[in-house]
Subunit: 146 residues, 2 copies
DNA sequence: TCAATTCGGACGGAATCAGTCTGATTTCCA
DNA sequence: TGGAAATCAGACTGATTCCGTCCGAATTGA
């Protein structure tokens, strides 16, 4: 149920990249130095984030990285999905057959849980991360149901 | 971001145990046979579930297991927490120091995400699992924010 | 007192993940 | 146009965690 370390690092890295938004390009080595993460790890993250379109890389001398979209258009859900793949708590939602379906009535319930989780992650943009969170937290699902 | 297999199995096992609610006691071996899970695995699950109070075990001859509370008072969140510990996506919410706090503004945001996730799991009781889910799914967090 | 049943901890194998390294590609400058 | 610099991209190794299994101890009913 824990987020992988790489996904956690990716959020930190993207957050740091956003602070260089107006500075032109940033190298992966700079991001590593500023965040304290190992350089090869940041390179690995950057590779996946670029593939997902969240970062845009320019190779060659004086190359570097920049955000692929405005910070407000990048959410935590986007970053997590770029590193870990689709956001889902169980494999059975990925259309993979489950060996224990006989005694399992959860199949119809997991999508609801997954949507709630993804919604929570998608509700936080990179732009919001640079500011303190809203004073009023999101309502609880329990309160909504009541 | 995936639920561990054991947590998934625990939900299935509890669901099966609930079907024996009126039959007195059930042995772990019976639950294993009905769900198709390995017997030792079910025993391990039962041990943790009993420790959390979700199951009640009676030792000795003609012993067995029964629900520790009414099915309506046991939620998926309870089961998952019994197996995996507190529901949280990142370690930093557990009051564990994070090495990368310098460039990390996520600290204030994770509790919101965690609460939303736990709420989604806590909104589904064991009694509900035996019936098809409500026709109207829960609202998306995105819709709530709008 | 004996037999049946469960609980608890310890062990081995497997899979996944984090981290490191080396090679290929691209661009700028002389 | 050629060389050099800086970057990205993929493959590999080591370690951690997790799953599944087994065996001994404790408890209860006959």
């Amino acid at each position: 149920m824990r987020l992988s370390n790489l996904a956690d690092y990716a959020v930190i890295t993207m957050c740091q990249a956003a602070t260089h938004c107006g500075d032109g390009r940033v190298s992966a080595a700079e991001l590593a130095a500023e965040t304290g993460l190992p350089v090869p790890t940041v390179q690995k993250l950057v590779s996946k984030l670029t593939g997902a379109g969240l970062l845009r890389s320019v190779r060659g001398a004086h190359g570097g990285l920049q955000l692929g979209r405005p910070a407000a258009a990048i959410t935590v859900a986007d970053i997590v999905e770029a590193i870990e793949g689709p956001i889902a708590l169980t494999a059975c939602v990925d259309h993979v057959a489950c060996d224990f379906e006989a005694g399992c009535n959860m199949r119809a319930h997991w999508p609801i849980i997954n949507v709630a989780l993804r919604g929570a992650l998608a509700g936080i943009s990179l732009a919001q991360l640079r500011n303190p969170p809203a004073a009023r937290p999101l309502p609880l699902i329990e309160e909504i149901q009541a």
